[in-house]
Amino acid sequence: MRAADALMESLKAEGVEHIFGIPGGANLPTYDALVDAGFRHIQVRHEQGGGHAAEGYAKASGKVGVAFATSGPGATNLVTAIADAMMDSVPTIFVTGQVRTELIGTDGFQEADILGATLPFVKHSFQVTDPRQIPEYVHEAFHVASTGRPGPVLLDIPQDLSRADIDYAPRTEPVDLPGYKPSTDGNIKQIRIAAKALANARRPILYTGGGVINANASEELRALAASDRFPVTSTLMGLGAIPASHEQWLGMLGMHGTFAANYAMDKADLIVAIGARFDDRITGKISEFAPHAKVIHIDIDPAEISKNVGAHIPIVGDAKQVLPKLTHEFGALQTDPSRLDAWWNEIHIWQEEHPLRYEPGKDGEIKPQFMIEAMHRATKGAAIVTSDVGQHQMWAAQYYGFEEPRHWINSGGLGTMGFGLPAAVGAKVACPEEDVVCLAGDGSLIMNCQELATCVAEDIPVKVFLMNNGYMGMVRQWQELFWDRRYSAVEMGASPDWVKLAEAFGATGLRCEDAAELEETMARALEADGPVLLDVRVVQEENCYPMIPPGAAARDMVEAPKAVR
């Protein structure tokens, strides 16, 4: 069998149904094999879009996302998506064409050392040096990408090798990589100590992250939270693991988190970190982070434990396996049911005195926060929402109120502008029955707006709700607050007429400038056939609060501009 056909068979053997990509010279054999392979291939319009689409697909479905690109520029265009997938632990496989073996190292046409370029941010990578390696490498790549802490795996195949003839036999045996054995169980002794610490805590808090989503451990987290009245907060990546309507939910924590969540972390005596990594956007000034707290850290990646914040009780394991054990061990202990009363009284005061709030818009003007609330109503809070990066992303995290996991898909770690639209393409392909809304910023959307063509050509009816404030809003906010309002290259100036742009691509373009019409216009967009871009003109210079100023401690968070200065 031709090696390229063996590649297709190997991908099928791993359960692949959808592939995002673009052909080119060095992966011509791959695309020739694709003709008869029976996958749904989504021809994206830029490899970065293909990479983010694979991420969106993976995040929405929990399955491994696959993207193809050719050598050289095709491969380097994937780099941002690969780095993004590494930062957010997204199970993805990137298959790149490479120049012919005899040209490697000669600076041949469209040659780039993609393996070398991506070494710092792949979970693992393979360069095929013998065509017979392909089935084995594919099998190993899926194992590495999808187990342990998920992440991106690169498979680089020189053009001549994918044309070679090999004997193909499906690889079904379990992968045995001697240097890769993730621990998933969690040490039961440590779990017992953790349970006893929880039983003794007077001001405990569960701080959860994307790891809970990746582990499909939302139910297990809800059970732990319910085993006592543990307050729960989460990172940007962990939203939806606990329903936003849950009475123990404090809201997101961190730079734009809620007052209650950040104060609870600051005053806590015991933090249970679950699949979260104490990123600087969470801790603020690390020397003043959670000064009274002992830390239980549960993570599948041992290197995350005590990396940024020391763990008193480290537990290496998969949240889906560890949390039920912790809940069980905790349940076996006798605890005083009233011991958290004082803690909840404190938290309720913070919640009542410092809720999320904004000044309502005047005369029909649309406040960005109101836009998110309208979006929640129009979608009944049930859409899969992807976002770009910036103010709109933070407002969505604050105001949308996610009830279920895998419904909030955004670029957290790398903070990649332009992520939202291609991620929505991937999410919609993965979940065709669900409403998929891309909440975009005008600064971000233009970075990958070519994927509107993909939506139209491939019949992928995503709905783009553009929060159009005429600025790269978050950068503008920082320039206003911390750089004396010296605006530098943040006005979007001659942005396209988005309605016409949508129409030029063959999509439906809508615009809304009146708060009274917003929800109804959104409903129309959701009901319309095919992809829709809804240009929502929001108040231009609204700032996102609350905010922990950069480098400040969580307790120094501010709720209004005066306090920042």
């Binding site: 070494l119 710092p120 360069q127 003794n200 005596d269 290197a303 005590s306 020391g310 008193h312 006798q334």
Partner: protein, 181 residues
């Protein structure tokens, strides 16, 4: 107080384990003998801001496995974090943080020293004291091979430097555990 009561774990009794060891560490790392493995290790060190003091790479008794021996300063880097990051590399099979008391560590160095006729006797005497070997002699220089701990090599360097050190080449340390282990 019986087992299983919550009182057994008081929060004030929980402590962090040590972070910086304050001493030199020798990591003996077994890796798959595959292309690019060294680049992955070196890249990891530079990306995470870890400084390698010495590095030696060579084959083992198994041709599919190579050994990387590297030394780094535990006063600067949390060794635990370094080894955990290294373990994430799929090609890294085993890491051993060698215990100084239970380890034989050796490094080889070659010194090319200016050796005018009137100084040669003294240089040869140094070499004998250090159980070093003279491996090359030219009209104006001598080349001396020294094997030993890093301390010994540095001591030898201090002795010959006043005579004029033309060039010095060091291998970086390799290490093996004492005893049958």
């Amino acid at each position: 107080m019986e087992a299983g009561t919550p009182q057994l774990v008081k929060l004030e009794d929980l402590h962090l384990s040590g972070q910086l060891s304050g001493r030199k560490h020798i990591l003996s790392i077994l890796v798959e003998n595959k292309p690019g493995v060294l680049a992955r290790i070196a890249g990891l060190f530079s990306r995470r801001g870890f400084n390698i003091d010495t590095l030696a790479v060579g084959p083992t008794d198994d041709p599919t496995i190579s050994r990387v021996t590297l030394t780094l300063d535990g006063a600067v880097h949390p060794i635990d974090q370094v080894t955990k990051q290294l373990h994430k590399l799929v090609n890294v099979l085993k890491i051993r943080d060698m215990e100084p008391e239970e380890t034989v560590a050796r490094e080889m160095a070659m010194f090319k020293v200016s050796a005018a006729v009137e100084n040669r006797a003294e240089i040869i005497q140094f070499a004998e004291i250090f159980r070093a070997r003279i491996v090359d002699v030219a009209r104006r220089t001598m080349t001396i091979e020294v094997t030993g701990s890093a301390d010994k090599i540095e001591a030898f360097e201090r002795m010959v430097r006043p005579h004029g050190l033309v060039e010095m080449v060091r291998t970086g340390e390799i290490a093996i555990a004492r005893g049958s282990d």
